[in-house]
Every structure is written in structure tokens, then in C-alpha cells.
Symmetry: C2
Subunit: 619 residues, 2 copies
């Protein structure tokens, strides 16, 4: 017979629940032949108290925006999370025992949002806590709901810098709706953790970063309950519960023993473990319920009035981005995030227009992306911006956002050697490779203000992770304000029946291609010029036609030769079975300081080099 | 007449030196038309005291391993650094005034090691302090020299998580030879910093992370001197001097005023500033000298005995890597760094053999790379290892290491969907794109134990950043132990005069290619099989010959389609003017959990799909 526990259940019942979570964690991982039972056993008491008494969540309507959020930053403790799902009655024992970690099923090795009760994918440590800060911010300051965010962290992950970026922001924003629970079980994957059971050291760090630390014995249910009550009663103080626990707790053969990380118990050990834990139980939990479900507000259709630019005026694409971003802000679901460079990226235009939806994360790119992801989870459309070079700082967060199938827009400014005197540390020359390789991404690289503004607006309706690459300097506006720029398209700026070569550029190199075409024309060489503003997806049709009609292509990019525009073009031609002689000009050496013109020329991507490459192709 | 200051100069003279540094910072940036004078003015007093009284450095022999190290983590304060070089007599006024930030010259916008007094490039904030921890570790624990490391940080960069990874390690390793000086000038690029002048908040954080904090008025020369004296006298306590300063100090028109970050003073303002600062001076500095120069020890030629494997045995490439790494450790300059996954990467084999040169950074991939870079600066050859997926966490550090022209070896294990049940968070499917796009990198991806061991050994003699991609599972050993694997080469495992198609793989897909060739042979289709173990540089000759002789290529990679092996092959063929029909099989959808076989097949990169692709190419 099933017994249902709730907020009024006494601690002896909750102990039984914890034991059930342990039993099911052991059983599930043993049945799968892989997984992390010992990392689950340490946190079972914490989670039993949380789900019975504190987590305000209706498991049957996970979309309820007023419900709390539970994030497993230690995603490898998925056996515990899935055992909780079973206790909640949304996953049955058969699913747990026969599908965990198996192909084609949703109970994956680490949690992902293919499960309706999972907000986002974890498993890269130090990330769940960072996303949780973004969710807490979104709940309090955007959705204005009373939801709390509970995040379970491992102790090993506390050495990730991203954890401290997160707690810094939790403290700064006074996120009283944020509670992290650190499962200090002392043992990492390959040995003792850095701080082992020095819970006071954790507490000092947490307090220094502006959060309240509550140190407890993580197996003392009463102490845990009191700590979570204190956390939940918080007005504006973020709380970190530092819980001293034992890895493998409850199973004497593995408890507090090194060498059992990420290993399922063999079947005979699992049987003994289940027996030691008191055998299987059939407890269900119905914890505290959130307020009446609130539907997500349907954003009213709003007219976005993008900025207009006059052909021939000199305007930087980053300037156009900023103005367009401010315009896109007419949509109430759009938010902007900055890493203290808003006056360079021009995201500050959004800040001026919509300060209530502008989030300054200071120089903490990982947390900027994590906050964006958290806000996306809550239904908002983030635009996160910094220098293209510094987006590499958040690569792992962007990668994981793709696993979470998050929709967000990124903008990287100051791309390429074009930036000039600041030198190579500030030059984004790897960002196209990074962003193209993100699963399901869209990569855009406008050459003028009109297209930059149009693509910035278009990003608000794209699914997945989209990336806009902008340029520091001002260049002539090429397109009328009413021109359209479909994603996956391109613009052919020069063409004729006698074209002998096609010059392909984007961003600054498009302007160099235009200048090169002029020089080639002086030599009597007709050159087609293609603005490849959509790098992914790329306009295969136009490239194939150019290959067929001109036979020769020069591709020039302000980026390293690997993974950027040149290889995108080669892939497109290959996929269409098209052949052409392609000269690929890219940044192949370490640049220094200089003027834009000097650096483009030194990198071999200036008009001079483009024209020379065309002449060489034509023999 | 030139006056030379030294350790015995009184503070009034050092004040004059500080003013000279300010004057030259203003003059240099105004002459260049760009740069960060106000960020230089705030730190001039700190650096004047340091260079006159504490920095034990012989400017004429920067290679002296016994000398101190000075790192500008706030690399944008390059005017101040270069003004110090002028005061040291190694850069003259003409160079400072006519070459700073100009093309083809060494005084770049942010410091790089093209300057002999600069250990490594900075300008991506939060990195210099992390590298400094690595240098301090190398000096104390590897070189066994008494050098101190002094690193100047900006206050804005203290929000980067990497800073706290660094201070955590400084504290853990009790690096008494490490001193960070935080220039708390309250103003960032676009407004006040997060903590403004809350020096006590910085101090609390620093102390919580195990370092000693000394809070001073950064313009009180006596206080600064005492703090640096305390730091220098440290036995085993790392010190962080939290210096309250004024941005633009000494120039009333800009002092403590927002809106002057990264802006040179216009000429008229610069003139007034120089006048207010007391005009130009001609001071030289000869600070405390380090011990007699010690030549770097020339490593004796050592015999490395790589592990040997028997053809047909099943051995994982990561296992072979670990054994080979332990063997390479016979070289005394080789060090290994781990991010708490040494039992997965098998770097632990090195730990067992050479514990004194094994560095556990726990789960802090940014600091792992930063420590590796710091050790490389000190003449060591680091091997830094974690999961391929988690190397993305350190992308910005790897990028900057390339700007610093560092030599180091990286190994990323658990590549691709091959890993199986753990799911997408643990799968490296973007790492080839990331690592190929690193300037000057070498990218290697062995398919068997013999080649994995050989390439691991080869990496110890490669310049620049090299990357070895390894696989989780065990696969048959393909090559005799005496086989050689030149970087830039490949192995053709199957070939004949009648080959109709070439199957190109690396890592796990090479084994799938071999199986596919068997199936095709059953259909009477002769397939060549190429093991493309060297992804960058790639074996263009072999690929070109295959294109010419077989006309059809199938490239299969356990990686996203962008930036990986497929595009490397297309680039190689294009560069050689070779044409072929190329079927490109790669991971194009989000994987889940499952067995290796299930996931390879679901991703379309299994033998079945490779054989099908070949048949389709052949019509």
C-alpha cells in the first residue's frame, strides 16, 4: 500500500523517504550498469526533507510559473533525482529500472530538459548554481513570482570559479529566493576534495561573497529542516546550506570510502545495500503546493521600429546593433545582459530604453551566459553581449545551453584584427569556429548597419542559440532601410554575365571585396561580390551558382582559417556537389597592434590581397 | 641629468618616480591616440614603490631564472608598464613616444612576450593573476628558486571566477612567493565597479580563500612600502595587497571621473596634465638585484621508453596516453596537470611515477591551463588533461596562451558520442573546432594505443599548443609497436589499385571505417581506409592522392560537422586543387544516453552509415 507523505509528515517518515530514495538510487544505477549511487546516497536526506516540506511544486503541472525550481548542479546524482521523480509519482519503478541511461529514453545519465521537471541540462560542474542565479533573478525581477530556487551542489564543484561568480551575483542582487545546498561529502572523483570536511572554510567563503551560510549535519533531518525553513523565510538574503555528509551514506560497504565514485554497486552488493537500507518502500510525496498556476503571459504583438540608416553614411555594425536592440526591447520578453562593456558593444542603448530588463553582470562572462540561460528557462529572450574574444570565456556554458536546447541571442563585438591598436588579446579570431560548432546555432555577420539592425531584430524570432558578430569600426551603409535579410540568405552586390570570379566576404572583408572588385574592374576583370551575412545556415544556392558561373571564388575572412567562413563555403559547395577553385584568405599569423588598414593588409585579407588572389586564380 | 633611484632612495624620490610614470603614461597614450592613461595613473605609486624597492630584477638579463616576475593582469595599463620599462632604461623615450600601439612595433596595446620583460600576454581580464599562481608554483616547487611573483590586478577583473580559482590555489599551495596587488580605483570601463571602494569586502574574500589581505591607501607610499615589505617577507603566506586608489590620480581633470576609461587625453589636456604632474623628469631606476643569474638547466637527453602494445589487444587510447605520459616523465622538464579526473584521463599514471611534478588543480579547468602556462613560462613542458568537453571551460585561456606563444600539450578524453551512457553533457563534440582554430596548434586524434602512445611522446617535442584527443572505450591495437606516426602524416590501412572510394576516419570512426570496408568488400566494392590521426596539420598529399585515385571520399567524425575533420579534409583538398565527391558524416543532432554502438549508429557515423554513404557516392 502506498503511503503519501507531505509537509506535515514527521521526520521519522521523512527518514523512510530518504531511505527509499537511497534504495532506488542503488537499484537504478545497478540496473543500468553505470551511474553515481554514492553521490546520490550522501544527498538523500537533504532532498527528502526538501521535497516533503519545502519545495513548493506541483509535479503534475511543471509549467506552473509560480512553482519553485529544483536544479541538480551535481547532475551526476541523477539516480537520486530520478528516485525523487518516482517518489513524486511522475516516473514509475519500471521506467526507473528499465530505461535509466538507456538509449532512446529520457532518464539520461545526467538530467536534461527532455524531462518536464528538469529546467536545464547539468553535468558540467559549477554550472547549475550559476543558472539558478539567473532563474532566481528572472522569477523575482521579471516574472514577479514568489518562486524559490533550490540548487543542489557537489563539494567538488566549489573549486570552479563560476560558482563564485554565481554567489557574488546572488549576494549583490540580494536574492532571498535563492538557496544552494552544498553536499559536502568529502570525496571527489579521484580522491578527497580540496577542502574535505572543512565546512567552516566553505562558510567563510560563502559569507564573504554576500550570502548567508548555514552549516549543518546533512544527515540530521531536524537540522536540515530548520536550515531550509530559515532559507525559505528569507526576505532578501541568499542562503547556502553547507551540509556535512557522508558519501555512500547508509551503505556500510561504500560509505566514506574512496574508489566508489561513479560506480554502480555490483548486484550482490546492491542486494546487501538494499537490505541494509531497510528494503524497498512504496512511499509517495505530495509536498507543499505553489500558488494557483499562472499562465505565462502571452506577449502582445508589438511593433518593432528598427533604426534606419542612410546608404553611404559610415556607421559601425555594433552601433546599429545597439539601436536595434533597444528597439527590439519593445517586446516585453526581451532582456539584455552585459559584462561591463555596454559602451563598447552598444548594449547600453537597451539599458537606457529598458533599464528594468537590463542586467549588468560586470566582468563575469560565464555568469552572464548562465543568467541568460536562467532567464530563457523562465520564458524570456535574452541578448547577451561582450567582445567576441571574451565569449570564449563562456564556451562551456554556451555548449551546455545547446544541450539544454535554450533559445538565446549572443552578440560578439570587436571581431577580428580589424579592431586595430588594442592588439591580439582583444581580437575575436576564433569565435566563428566556436559558434558554428554549437549544436543548432545560427551565425550571422553583417557588413553594414542596415543588415546589422535587421538581423538583430530577426534574432528575436529564431530558435536555439543565435550569434551576431559585429565590427568595431564604422563602414559605409550598403543597403536601403527596407532591404530584407533572411537567415540563410546572402546579398550579391556586384554581378554580371561575364563574371570571372566571385569575391565572398562578410563584415569588414565585404568592404575589402568591394574595393577589390573595383580594382579588378580596372584590369578588365569582372568580379561578382557576395555578402555572406548568414554564415550558418549558409546560402548554398548562391555559392553553388557562383561556382558554376564564375568557376573561381575568393573567400576572405577576418578570422583564423579553421572553422570560419572559408570552411563554411567549402562545406556548402561540397554538399551541393559544386566545384570551384577557392582561394581562402584568413588570419594565419599572430597580429600585433596597428591601424585597421595595416592589420588587414598584414593578415592578407585586404582588398589588395583579395584582388591578387583573384588574379592568381585567373592565371 | 639622469638621477638613478634604487632601494635606498627615499619616498620623496619615489614619489618623483611615480610622477614620471604618470607623465609618461599620459604622453605615450596621447601620442598613440589610444590607450588607458587613467588606469595607469591609479597604479603608478604602487609600481614606483615596487620597482624601486622590492622587485628583484635585472632588466638587462630578463632570462635570469632567479629574478622576480612582474605580471600586469590589468594589461590595459600598458602605458604604465612601458613607462616603467623606460624608467628601467630598457626602452627609450623615442620608442615610447613613437611606437606605442603602432604597427610592426613591440610596445603593443596590451603587453605580449615579444617584449623580453613580459612573461606572457595579458588583456583578457582575470588571467594574469591565474598565470602568476602557475609561475609561483614553478619557481618554488620545480625550479627551486627564490623568485617572487608580483601581479598587478584591476578591481574590475575581481568579478571573474578565474581570480578565485587562482587565489584558492595560491592559498592551498601556501605560495609565500606570490603577491597580488589590486588597484581598487573604483571605476570600470562603463561605470563604477561592483564593489567600488569597499576594500574590506575584497579583504574578506581574499582571506576566506586562504590568502593574507593587506588593505592600504594605494597613494600612501609609506603604507605601500610596508605592505610590500610584509609580502616579501612572507614565508608561506600568499599576500593580496588591496590598494584603494583614485583612477586618473594626479590629473584633476580626470581624477575619479567616470567616462575616461580607455581614452587618451587630448593634446591640450595632456599638456595641462603633464604640467600638473610637475613636468617631465629623467629618473632611472635600479632596484634590488636578484641572485647571480642561473642558466636554465639543460635537460640531459633521456631515453623515453614508451609503452608497447600487441596488435589485436583491446586498449583505450586514453589508457595508452596515461602510460606514455608516465614514460615521457623521464624528461625532467615534463610536468602534468589534472582537474580531478586523473583516473579517467589516466594522467594518474604520471602521478604515480612522478608525484613531484604532478599538479592537482581539482575541478578548475581555467586554473589548470593557467598553471600550465605559468610553468611553460618557467621552461617546463606541461601536459594538461581533462575531458574534451570540459576543455571548453578554459577556451579563453587556451586562446591567450597562443597569443603568448606558449608551448604546452593538452589532452582531452571522452571525446564524442562514443562515451555512451553518461550523455551529452560529458561528450566532447566541439573540441576539434576549438583546438583547430587555436593559432599555431597541432591537433592529433589517435585510433589505437600504439599511435596514442607515439603521439603522446611526440608532443614533448612540438612547439606551440598541441592537442591529443582520446577515446573512452577500448579498441583493437592496429599498429606494431615500432610503427612511426609523424605529425602531419596519416596511415593508409587498406588500399589497392581498384579502390573506388576512400573511407577517412580518426579515433573511434577509424574502426567503423574498417568495418565498413569489410562490408563493402562483401559487395565487391574496394574501399581504401585512411587513419587521419593528424588532424592539424593534415596529410594533404595522401588525401589528394585518394581523391585522384578513388574520386570518392567518406569522412566520418565523432564531432559536430563544423570545424572538425570533415572541414579539415575539404580545406586540404581545396588547397591542393583536388576534387572529390565527399560524403561528410558527423554528429548533427543532440545525442542522449545509450551504448556506444547505439549512439554511433544514431549519429550516423557507424560502419553501417559509412558503407551506405560509400554506396550512395558510387551510385
Amino acid at each position: 500500500m502506498t503511503t503519501t507523505l507531505g509537509p506535515d509528515s514527521d521526520l521519522s517518515q521523512i527518514f523512510e523517504l530518504a531511505q527509499q530514495l537511497r534504495v532506488d538510487s542503488v537499484r537504478a544505477s545497478t540496473s543500468a550498469g553505470s551511474g553515481h549511487p554514492t553521490s546520490s546516497l550522501s544527498a538523500a536526506d537533504l532532498m527528502a526533507v526538501l521535497m516533503a516540506r519545502h519545495l513548493r511544486y506541483d509535479w503534475d503541472t511543471p509549467d506552473n510559473r509560480a512553482g519553485d525550481h529544483l536544479i541538480f548542479s551535481k547532475g551526476h546524482a541523477s539516480p537520486l533525482l530520478y528516485a525523487m521523480f518516482k517518489a513524486a509519482g511522475v516516473v514509475d519503478d519500471d521506467e526507473l529500472m528499465t530505461t535509466y541511461r538507456r538509449f532512446g529514453h529520457r532518464l539520461q545519465g545526467h538530467p536534461t530538459p527532455v524531462l518536464p521537471w528538469v529546467d536545464l541540462a547539468t553535468g558540467s560542474l559549477g554550472q547549475g548554481i550559476a543558472y539558478s542565479v539567473g532563474i532566481a533573478l528572472a522569477c523575482r525581477d521579471l516574472s514577479k513570482v514568489d518562486s524559490r530556487v533550490w540548487v543542489l551542489c557537489g563539494d567538488s564543484e566549489m573549486t570552479e570559479g563560476s560558482v563564485w561568480e554565481a554567489l557574488d551575483k546572488a549576494g549583490r542582487h540580494r536574492l532571498g529566493n535563492f538557496t544552494a545546498i552544498i553536499d559536502v561529502n568529502r570525496l571527489g572523483q579521484s580522491g578527497p576534495t580540496e577542502l574535505e570536511w572543512d565546512t567552516q572554510a566553505y562558510a567563510r567563503r560563502v559569507e564573504a561573497f554576500g550570502c548567508r551560510a548555514l552549516v549543518v549535519d546533512g544527515h540530521d533531518l531536524d537540522a536540515v529542516d530548520k536550515a531550509l525553513t530559515t532559507a525559505a523565510d528569507s526576505d532578501d538574503t541568499p542562503t547556502v546550506v553547507v551540509a556535512r555528509t557522508v558519501k555512500g551514506r547508509g551503505v556500510s560497504e561504500v560509505a566514506d570510502k574512496n574508489g566508489w565514485h561513479g560506480k554502480p554497486l555490483p548486484e550482490d552488493m546492491a542486494e546487501r545495500a538494499v537490505a541494509e537500507l531497510g528494503g524497498r518502500r512504496d512511499l509517495r510525496v505530495r509536498g507543499p503546493q505553489p500558488p494557483q498556476a499562472q499562465a505565462a503571459p502571452v506577449p502582445a504583438a508589438v511593433d518593432i521600429e528598427p533604426p534606419r540608416f542612410d546608404v553611404g553614411d559610415s556607421v559601425a555594425t555594433r552601433v546599429a546593433f545597439g539601436k536595434a536592440l533597444a528597439a527590439v526591447g519593445a517586446r516585453p520578453d526581451v532582456v539584455a545582459l552585459d559584462a561591463e562593456v555596454g559602451n563598447s558593444t552598444h548594449a547600453e542603448d537597451f539599458q537606457k530604453a529598458h533599464p528594468e530588463r537590463y542586467f549588468q553582470t560586470y566582468i563575469a562572462e560565464q555568469q552572464m551566459i548562465a543568467s541568460a540561460v536562467g532567464m530563457a528557462v523562465c520564458g524570456y529572450r535574452p541578448y547577451a553581449t561582450t567582445f567576441a574574444a571574451f565569449l570564449t570565456r563562456a564556451h562551456d556554458f554556451i555548449r551546455m545551453a545547446a544541450v539544454s536546447q535554450i533559445t538565446m541571442a549572443l552578440c560578439g563585438t570587436h571581431s577580428g584584427v580589424e579592431i586595430g591598436a588594442d592588439g591580439p588579446s582583444q581580437m575575436g579570431v576564433e569565435d566563428l569556429a566556436m559558434m558554428r560548432a554549437v549544436l543548432g546555432s545560427t551565425v550571422l555577420y553583417p557588413s553594414d548597419a542596415t543588415s546589422s539592425a535587421a538581423l538583430t531584430v530577426a534574432m528575436a524570432d529564431l530558435d536555439g542559440i543565435s550569434y551576431l558578430r559585429t565590427t568595431r569600426g564604422a563602414y559605409p551603409v550598403l543597403y536601403d532601410a527596407d532591404e530584407t535579410f533572411p537567415v540563410g540568405g546572402s546579398k550579391t552586390l556586384r554581378h554580371g554575365a561575364q563574371d570571372q570570379v566571385t569575391l565572398v566576404g562578410a563584415g569588414v572583408t565585404l568592404h575589402e571585396c568591394l574595393a577589390a572588385a573595383d580594382r579588378l574592374a580596372e584590369d578588365g576583370i569582372a568580379a561578382r561580390v557576395v555578402d555572406l551575412y548568414s554564415v550558418k545556415p549558409v546560402d548554398t544556392d548562391t555559392l553553388t551558382r557562383a561556382a558554376r558561373e564564375t568557376g573561381n571564388l575568393v573567400v576572405a575572412e577576418d578570422h583564423h582559417p579553421e572553422g570560419g567562413i572559408g570552411e563554411a563555403v567549402l562545406s556548402a559547395l561540397n554538399s551541393a556537389g559544386a566545384h570551384a577553385a577557392v582561394a581562402h584568405l584568413a588570419v594565419r599569423d599572430l597580429p600585433g597592434s596597428g591601424t585597421t588598414a595595416e592589420l588587414l593588409d598584414a593578415a592578407g585579407i585586404s582588398a589588395t590581397h583579395i584582388a591578387d588572389a583573384a588574379r592568381t586564380l585567373l592565371g
